[in-house]
């Protein structure tokens, strides 16, 4: 299946929030095709619909209309639990606000997706430690989020996204809360994963510097794609 169909295909996706006077048309017909192994950066002004499209891609949100095919499967026809399976087995998320469980160690946070995969505890811990090792945080495995810096928390979140062995990592402003130095570390990490593990990466960013790491730049304006260009990539 993966050989014939593109990894991700959006056709005429719209998303409308609210109704009547309060109606907001966050997406106004988005067509986007992403093939396996790409590193895509999404940019655009605030409120242009970047996060909305990411949430649709991540099956975190349902579009108002349009078709979303993931490896040829029509996501719109899947129910709540089937979409959960899709997230569990194919997708990893990195949010701007990290979204780690509080009062829960780095290791346990990374273990979380593996619990739902039904893996035994020993195996889970081994895999979670491995993922933490990849983001250079195995020495912080027993720390709570509150004991970690922002950059470290984001790396834990990346380890969590990574642990389940996803085909795609979706990152919505992963460096939004970090300084330039920390941002570069995160970007090096993501582009490394893209190259060595062939994980497809779709990332929203406000910063040109960070977008340069990607090999494709998609620009959003007012709920639709304004520009879609190949870029040289970096590193």
């Amino acid at each position: 299946m993966a050989g014939t169909a593109p990894l991700i295909e959006l056709r005429g996706i719209t998303k409308v929030y609210g109704a009547g006077e309060a109606e907001v048309r966050a997406l106004r017909g988005v067509d986007l095709t992403i093939t396996a192994g790409e590193f895509v950066a999404i940019m655009g002004p605030s409120g242009s619909g970047k996060s909305t499209v990411m949430n649709v891609l991540g099956c975190l949100d349902t579009p108002t209309s349009g078709t979303f095919l993931f490896e040829g499967v029509d996501v719109g026809k899947l129910d709540h639990d089937q979409r959960a399976l899709l997230r569990r087995n194919y997708l990893g998320f990195v949010f701007q606000g990290y979204n780690l469980l509080p009062r829960t160690t780095a290791l346990e946070n990374v273990e979380l997706p593996l619990i739902y995969k039904g893996l035994p505890r020993g195996e889970r811990q081994r895999m979670a430690l491995e993922a933490l090792d990849k983001v250079g945080l195995s020495h912080r495995a027993d720390h709570d989020p509150s004991q970690l810096s922002g950059g470290q928390q984001q790396r834990v979140a990346i380890a969590r996204a990574l642990a389940g062995g996803p085909d795609v990592i979706l990152a919505d402003e992963p460096t939004g809360n970090l300084d330039t130095e920390r941002s570069r570390e995160i970007m090096d990490l993501l582009s490394g994963l893209n190259k060595t593990e062939n994980i497809t990466i779709v990332m929203v960013t406000h910063e040109e510097d960070m977008a340069e790491y990607a090999r494709r730049l998609v620009s959003f304006v007012d709920g639709h794609i304004e520009q879609d260009t190949k870029t040289p990539g970096k590193g």
Partner: protein, 403 residues
């Protein structure tokens, strides 16, 4: 898988210590209060019933003076009875089984250097049956000793505690004013009544001895009467009244100068009072159960915000609705069980303590324990589970955005 879920639930409980503690506290208070109060209430009711039974529910008491429970019985102004009254009742009335004359006064009992203010009873051996007394050790004085007015006595447990300590009192001489009498027997302990009378704080001597050596007259303060089996109490009372009026030469139209009290009536009044008390305690208990329940509800609902985000994260990494719900259900059940068990332990502990202090029997009611437990646990489970269920059915982004 279930084992793993339970392990994770316990982990989550310890991770959210404060919230768990408050939830458990709500359940503990609700369950504990109900069990403690109902236990005390039922204990006092059991005690009253036992008191009444120990008196014999077919017992009547004839007192000098005019009617009612506090009706001036025993005042010097009232004409006392004499031993012959009791004998006449016994001999002339077929409705009566025992008629035991009884005199009493308060007195200081002295043994060696110890003294103790107690109740002194002058009685015939008939009183043993009328009052359901029995001998724990030694013997009761004989009819012959009674008739002869010998200086012998039987004593209650409290007297031993107060005067004799480790000495075996039998054969020892107890001094009551000028009377020095030999202890021949120990009464079996009867305990404290529900209205606080220590029934074991007593010294009993033959009636004749009492009249001759203590009171210095032939008066009898009370007559205990037991009604013969199969005879109605009302009929016995009527018989007694007719005979006593005749013996005391009360002319027709004149009021009785004595009263006949029915222990059963007194008992039913007392039972009524304790029943009201138990009801009152139960309603207070019900309120605390409700308050505990509201406490649990509050904490569960307040924690929904945080938990909804948590559920959003779990959904985002691939948890299915059922998995999230199972986790929260197990968590709520574990918390409720924990709180419920602690509450039962606390409630029974408090109940036992209070029963002990109040000298009433400890009567835990399994039904009440079950109801209190089920209610609190139900509140815990429902309010832990349903908000979680709602969140688990949302789109993950909705749960994540929840503020």
């Amino acid at each position: 898988m279930l084992w793993e879920t339970i392990r994770l639930a316990v982990q989550a409980i310890f991770r959210n210590m404060l919230r768990s503690f408050l939830t458990v506290l709500g359940i503990v208070i609700g369950v504990g209060a109900v069990i403690a109060m109902v236990t005390v209430g039922q204990g006092s009711q059991t005690q009253v019933t036992a008191d009444v039974e120990s008196l014999g529910s077919n017992t009547l008491i004839i007192r000098p003076g005019v009617g009612g429970m506090g009706g001036g019985g025993g005042l010097s102004a009232d004409r006392s009875f004499v031993r012959a009254d009791a004998e006449a009742l016994r001999e002339e009335l077929s409705s009566i089984e025992i008629a035991a004359p009884y005199s009493m006064t308060n007195i200081t009992a002295v043994y060696g250097n110890e003294n103790h203010f107690t109740q002194l009873a002058g009685a015939e051996t008939t009183l043993m049956d009328a009052m359901n007394w029995s001998i724990a050790e030694g013997r009761i004085f004989t009819d012959a000793e009674e008739k002869a007015g010998r200086a012998v006595c039987v004593i209650g447990e409290t007297i031993i505690e107060e005067l004799f300590f480790n000495i075996n009192p039998i054969g020892e001489k107890l001094r009551l004013r000028s009377l020095s009498c030999e202890v021949v027997g120990i009464l079996a302990a009867k305990g404290v009544t529900s209205y606080g009378d220590d029934q074991d704080d007593i010294v009993a001597i033959p009636l004749k001895t009492f009249q001759r050596r203590v009171a210095g007259n032939n008066d009898v303060s009370l007559i205990y009467v037991t009604v013969r089996d199969g005879v109605s109490t009302d009929r016995a009372i009527r018989d007694i009244e007719i005979l006593m009026r005749e013996r005391r030469r009360i002319s027709a139209g004149e009021e009785d100068d004595f009263s006949v009290m029915d222990m059963k009536q007194i008992a039913s009044v007392l039972s009524g009072i304790t029943a009201v008390l138990t009801g009152l305690l139960s309603s207070v208990a019900a309120v605390s159960l409700l308050v505990g329940g509201i406490g649990i509800m509050n904490i569960m609902l307040v924690s929904v915000t945080e938990r909804t985000r948590e559920i959003g994260i779990r959904l985002a990494v691939g948890a299915q609705t059922g998995q999230v719900m199972l986790q929260f259900l197990v968590e709520a059940i574990v918390l409720s069980l924990l709180g419920g068990l602690l509450g039962i332990v606390l409630g029974l502990g408090l109940g036992a303590l209070a029963s002990n202090l109040m000298s009433i029997p400890f009567v835990p009611d399994p039904r009440v324990i079950l109801i209190a437990f089920a209610f609190s646990a139900g509140v815990g489970v429902i309010f832990g589970y349903f908000p979680a269920r709602r969140a688990a059915q949302m789109d993950p982004i909705e749960a994540l955005r929840h503020q």
